[in-house]
Amino acid sequence: MLIFVIRRVLMGLALLLVSSFLMYMLVDFTIDPLEDLRTSTDPSAALQMEQRTEQLNLNAPPWERYFDWLGAFVTGDPGVSWNTGRSVSDLLGSAIISTLQLVSFATVAAIVLGVAVGIVSALRQYSSFDYLITFFAFLMFSLPSFWVAVLLKQWGAIGFNDFLVDPVIAPMLIAGISLAAGVFWQLAVGGTLRRRLIHGALAALAVALVLGYMQITDWWLQPRLDWVLLTVTSLGIALTVTTLSTGLRNRRSLYTALSCVALGLVLYFPVRYYLFSNSMLTPYMNYGIVLLLGLAAILVGALVGVAWRGPDWKQSARTGAISAFLIAGVIFLDKVMSYWPAYMAAPAINNRPIQTIGDRAPNLGGNFWVQLLDQYTHLILPTLALMLISFAGYTRFSRGSMLEVMNQDYIRTARAKGINERTVVMRHGFRNSLIPLASIIPVDIIGLIGGALITERIFSRPGMGQLFIANLNMNDIDPVMAYLVIVAFLAILANIVADLLYAALDPRIRVNA
């Protein structure tokens, strides 16, 4: 295993080296740093040209410049942008974070949604739901992201912000949305007509109730989770997680999840108003603490599961951990949302919260929570625009993979043993269908980094893609090369991780090859 990792890493480094050489040659061939001076009518143009040739060592053959650049790069100096005189590491610093945030957010969203939809679509093969999803997947494959992004800006940002001025949804619209949700849900549920009608009606009713509640309590302007919503969402989480992970018949699991709900409700007040208060954690909040709190929630949930004992305490612990994590997430979300009115009223926002430009509001200030809100209002539309295509890809891929798995003999064996359908689908089918996903995720991440080029440009996010385009246009080789090397590095890393993951997930694959 270790030898395999070392081999892969060495090979990756060699690949990176060759790739950087080829790209340097290519970029050197395409750009012309003297472009502006060639057409210039300035009498001193010739002199300037000479100076710049001297400065950039343009008379030397390109490989000589490559080795100069490489020598500096490996010793930690990625060069200087000659246009602005700023060092490349300065330029990259914040750009990398911005891009990674966008790409990782889009990847996670696309995987979670795409896999869920794909699996359901596979379980309802050749149904209307399946055809509907297939058609939409094809449509998304065909959508140019720059075109979608302009529409999102128009309707997602400007439209939604206009809606927030006077957030009233007409009753007819609520009825329409609920009806559509009901129809969609009954298609996804499948089965006999009666089952579908019941599920569809329930879903429509639930959506109508939620929308009505939000309307009455002025939720759009003061989003929050009070006792009612918190109880409802936590119960929903507990039941869903239990159903998916062990089934409601496993009483210990169910009780574990319900204990987590109770614990969440008890802890809601102290956590929300004491732990997160200005005198306690708020001034010190950062992502590290958020991570620690999440881990603490997982631990507590697992302990609750263990405390319920029984022969299958591992399953209970798993159910408890997932439920507790999600419930804690809901409480966290509630805290974030409580800053919404303050955020809306800030002069930098001026009651138009969904942003279309940049990755943070200038001069906003505020504490951790406000900054968090600000980042996500900037992130939501670019993520949507970016994830559409890979969402379609994951839908199709997980559908195909699930269909393949569900036709395997061991699924038939599992059914023949008398295992119920939930266990067959979730334990024998779903888990195995995820294995091949490990091989398309790196390919997809490379695609998303490429896609970020366009998304960042449209939403003017100051990320690496923007940096690349701007400097390519300005014939500035050092920042361009830094971008290319980082992207190639990320891609190679993603590939190695995927191979290791694949080997870890699938015992049939041996890594000593």
Binding site: L15, L16, V18, S19, L22, M23, L26, V27, F29, T30, I31, Q125, Y126, F138, L139, F141, S142, L143, P144, S145, F146, W147, V150, Q154, G393, Y394, R396, F397, G400, S401, L403, E404, M406, N407, P436, S439, I440, V443, I446, G447, I449, G450, G451, L453, I454, R457, F468, I469, L472, N473, V480, L484, V487, A488, A491, I492, N495, D499, Y502
Partner: protein, 379 residues
């Protein structure tokens, strides 16, 4: 990097037929009482009877022509191509063939509607269906958007075809040699493929487009074709690796066929399904690639027209002149969607495991029909 990747999200098989009770399929066409005894055999017989006396090519062609989505896609695609070519005509070297549309993409006309709005009216509007002088509207300096869109469609189609051709050539050759010769050749060729895969196509495309992107789409398309063959090469390699172990290859070698003959005459025709399918999907992403590059300014530049470049030029005018934005986008989506559907149909047609499963309603109807016929026969 690991070599047996499934790069194509569609590649995983869709063998749904296994879950279906064989007797049910058979019952659609024959009397149920016979089926109970020898279901699987009979099903096989029926399946065989359906394709009796047909060559593989005929079977594939028939399956393709029965695929509704693919046929709709193909027809729409052909209509768009005909409209784009005949409406504004085209220039081929010194020869210029005029089209039936009165304007071309660069001439400045008087603005007809306020702000150059579209003159086309839908059948449900007051005046009924009217095409008018500028059906898709005009831009701020009076150019006809219909002519510009058609010109952009022509560019996109040319780019798509060239990228497809170049990528097919390179990808098939590299994949075939890599899979056939294995060993050192394989290692070298696949490491070369990995090298290109490490960077997103659009990034290399931007670097290349900076130099080659210009009014003429051909050099750009050639360059883009030269970098987008990687997925195809991997698929072809995988196919060749398994094909070369088959008996007919041994037979050909024993009969004294040269390596070249074995690769091109014996193995390539067997891999043609994989190639055609992945090339179609490649072509639909090629359209998006070209439009995206033109949007970023590294692709087709004025005076030529590309759909992506039009959207880039007009995106600021979404509120005042939405038609400038809608039409080019609509045509990009239409073309890409049609190509995708054709590709889907081709995949189904080439996949021997793929069977069309009738819906329960259709099977019930077939049962009724069979029952009626039986009743009529006994009467």
């Amino acid at each position: 990097m690991s070599n047996d990747r499934k790069d194509d999200p569609f590649e995983a098989g869709e063998t749904g037929s296994g879950s279906l009770d064989p007797a049910m399929t058979a019952a659609a066409t024959t009397d149920r009482s016979e089926v109970v005894d020898d279901g699987p055999q009979l099903e096989n017989a029926i399946e065989l009877r359906e394709v009796e006396g047909m060559s593989q090519g005929q079977i594939v062609r028939r399956r393709f022509f029965r695929h509704t989505g693919a046929m709709v896609g193909l027809v729409v695609m052909i209509l768009i191509a005909i409209m784009a070519i005949t409406s504004i005509g085209f220039t081929l070297g010194p020869v210029t063939i005029p089209g039936w549309w009165q304007y071309n993409h660069s001439q400045l006309n008087d603005i007809v509607n306020p702000r150059g709005g579209p003159t086309m009216q839908m059948p449900w509007s007051e005046g009924g269906f009217v095409i008018g002088q500028h059906p898709f509207g005009q831009d701020e300096i009076g150019r006809d958007i219909f002519a510009r869109t058609m010109k952009g469609v022509q560019t996109s189609l040319v780019v798509m075809a060239v990228i497809g051709a170049v990528a097919t050539l390179i990808g098939t050759l590299i994949g075939a040699f890599s899979g056939f010769f294995r060993g050192k050749t394989d290692t070298v060729l696949m490491r070369f493929t990995d090298l290109i895969i490490t960077l997103p196509v659009i990034v290399i495309g931007a670097v290349l487009g900076k130099k080659l992107g210009s009014a003429d789409p051909i050099p750009l398309a050639l360059a883009l074709g030269a970098i987008s063959w990687t997925g195809l090469a991997r698929l072809v390699r995988g196919d060749f690796l398994s094909l070369r172990e088959r008996e007919f290859v041994d037979a050909a070698r024993v009969a004294g066929a040269s390596t070249r003959r074995i690769i091109f005459k014996h193995m390539l025709p067997n891999a043609v399904g994989v190639i055609i399918v992945s090339v179609t999907l490649l072509m639909s992403s090629a359209i998006l690639l070209e439009t995206a590059l033109s949007y970023l300014g590294f692709g087709i530049t004025p005076p030529n027209v590309s759909l992506g470049q039009m959207i880039n030029e007009y995106q600021g005018a979404f509120n005042t002149r939405p038609w400038l934005f809608w039409w080019p986008g609509l045509f990009i989506i239409l073309i890409a969607l049609c190509v995708n559907f054709v590709g889907d149909g081709l995949r189904d047609a080439f996949d021997p495991r793929q069977k069309k499963i009738p819906s329960p309603r259709k099977m019930a109807r077939a049962d009724q029909r069979a029952a009626r016929q039986a009743a009529r026969a006994s009467a």
